[in-house]
């Protein structure tokens, strides 16, 4: 899950590693304060998304490419079939154009979280979440269409 958050919020490997490290550090530090008042997974998502959203300076793009050999093994993406890979790349490209909050919503939606859980993680009421989710879906459709026309 942490890798997915990093993949959504950072566009290059270097930034992803930085964010991953920061999330791990925050998890490690916050764990003694985990009282079990929410599900462990809810707490985990909160830490990951709070770290990713709040750490705004990391969200700028880097231009220096990273040597693939330097990428730790836990960051090497699993490979899919060509069609699935293409769909995923389209998704990532479209998500790049979403805001930080929208990315969090998409992430939780794709993880199949209920609106109850989303509210627990994000603190946005369910009606608002539903409205936002519909808008995001529409926005993603539009972005994909634009991209498709652009490539013709």
């Amino acid at each position: 899950m942490l890798h997915k958050v990093c993949r959504l919020y950072c566009y290059d490997e270097h930034d992803r590693q930085d964010l991953f490290q920061e999330i791990i550090v925050q998890l490690w530090r916050s764990y003694p304060g985990f009282r079990g008042e929410s599900k462990f997974s809810t707490w985990l998502y909160r830490i990951a998304l709070n770290t990713a959203i709040s750490d705004l300076r990391r969200q700028k793009r880097r231009t220096t490419p990273l040597d693939p050999d330097q990428i730790p093994t836990y960051f090497q993406d699993i490979r899919y079939g060509a069609e699935e890979e293409d769909q995923l790349q389209q998704l990532y490209a479209a998500i790049e154009r979403l805001t930080e909050v929208e990315k969090a919503l998409v992430m939780l939606y794709l993880e199949d979280k209920s609106y109850d859980e989303m509210e627990e993680i994000l603190g946005i009421n369910q009606n608002n979440l539903r409205v936002k989710m519909n808008r995001i879906k529409e926005k993603l459709r539009k972005i994909t269409k634009e991209a498709a026309y652009g490539t013709r």
């Binding site: 890798h3 997915k4 930085d18 991953f20 490290q21 920061e22 791990i24 550090v25 925050q26 490690w28 916050s30 304060g33 985990f34 707490w43 909160r46 830490i47 998304l49 709070n50 770290t51 959203i53 709040s54 750490d55 705004l56 300076r57 730790p72 093994t73 836990y74 960051f75 090497q76 993406d77 699993i78 899919y80 699935e84 769909q87 995923l88 389209q90 998704l91 479209a94 805001t99 930080e100 909050v101 969090a104 998409v106 939606y109 794709l110 993880e111 199949d112 627990e120 993680i121 994000l122 603190g123 946005i124 608002n128 409205v131 995001i136 879906k137 993603l140 459709r141 994909t144």
Partner: protein
């Protein structure tokens, strides 16, 4: 592209099972220091503390031990300023500790960050603005107390003959102008350091609250 159709691919998108090597890498990550903005602010604060200690402790010792103890009063004054700095650093550190709650809901964490960071910048501007006039006033008092104007020194001699309120006015007018200048310089500097960050956090909150 329909988001729902991607759910399956997304949910099966998993990294390979973690091996011994990956555990070692994660343990190494935990040992590293945080690179987050809050950790950087805290490190800057510790550097400020170290700088103030390095400047004030030798000065205090100097005034207590040299000049046959005649300038011990200045040493005590510096000691008082050091105590004020202790309060200043304590307050800043407490605000930094309150600033983030990563285990809280994202919205309440953002609200907390905006609230605390705003308090932090206000405190930064207030103390940064008052420090220079405070030091100037202290220096003036020290000079008046330890070095009374000699009859031969034209400026001090004239000042000592004029009533005390004229004397103070002479000091306060330029000091007020300088303070105003320092205030705006501080507002600009703090805005440069944290302004963009606060604005971005406020935008995120507005976006979360908006229907």
């Amino acid at each position: 592209m329909e988001l729902d159709s991607l759910k399956y691919i997304w949910q099966t998108l998993e990294v390979p099972p973690t091996g011994e090597d990956n555990h070692r890498q994660i343990l190494a990550l935990i040992q590293k220091r945080s690179a987050g903005p809050l950790a950087k602010m805290r490190r800057n604060l510790y550097m400020e503390v170290a700088l103030i200690i390095a400047l004030y402790i030798p000065s205090i010792l100097l005034y207590f031990l040299l000049f046959q103890g005649r300038l011990a009063g200045i040493g005590w004054l510096f000691f008082g300023i050091l105590l004020l700095f202790t309060g200043y650093f304590y307050r800043k550190n407490r605000l930094l500790k309150e600033m983030q709650c990563v285990g809280c809901r994202v919205r309440s964490n953002l609200q907390r960050q905006v609230r605390t960071l705003t308090k932090y910048t206000r405190f930064y501007i207030l103390t940064g603005t008052l420090l220079i006039p405070f030091m100037a006033l202290c220096s003036y008092l020290i000079v008046r107390w330890k070095y009374p104007p000699a009859p031969g020194a034209a400026l001090f001699h004239q000042l000592s003959r004029s009533p005390w309120w004229q004397n103070s006015l002479f000091l306060l007018i330029p000091l007020a102008l300088i303070t105003v200048g320092i205030y705006y310089a501080n507002v600009w500097y703090v805005g440069k350091l944290y302004g963009r960050h606060i604005k971005k956090l406020q935008d995120l909150l507005r976006e979360m609250d908006g229907d």
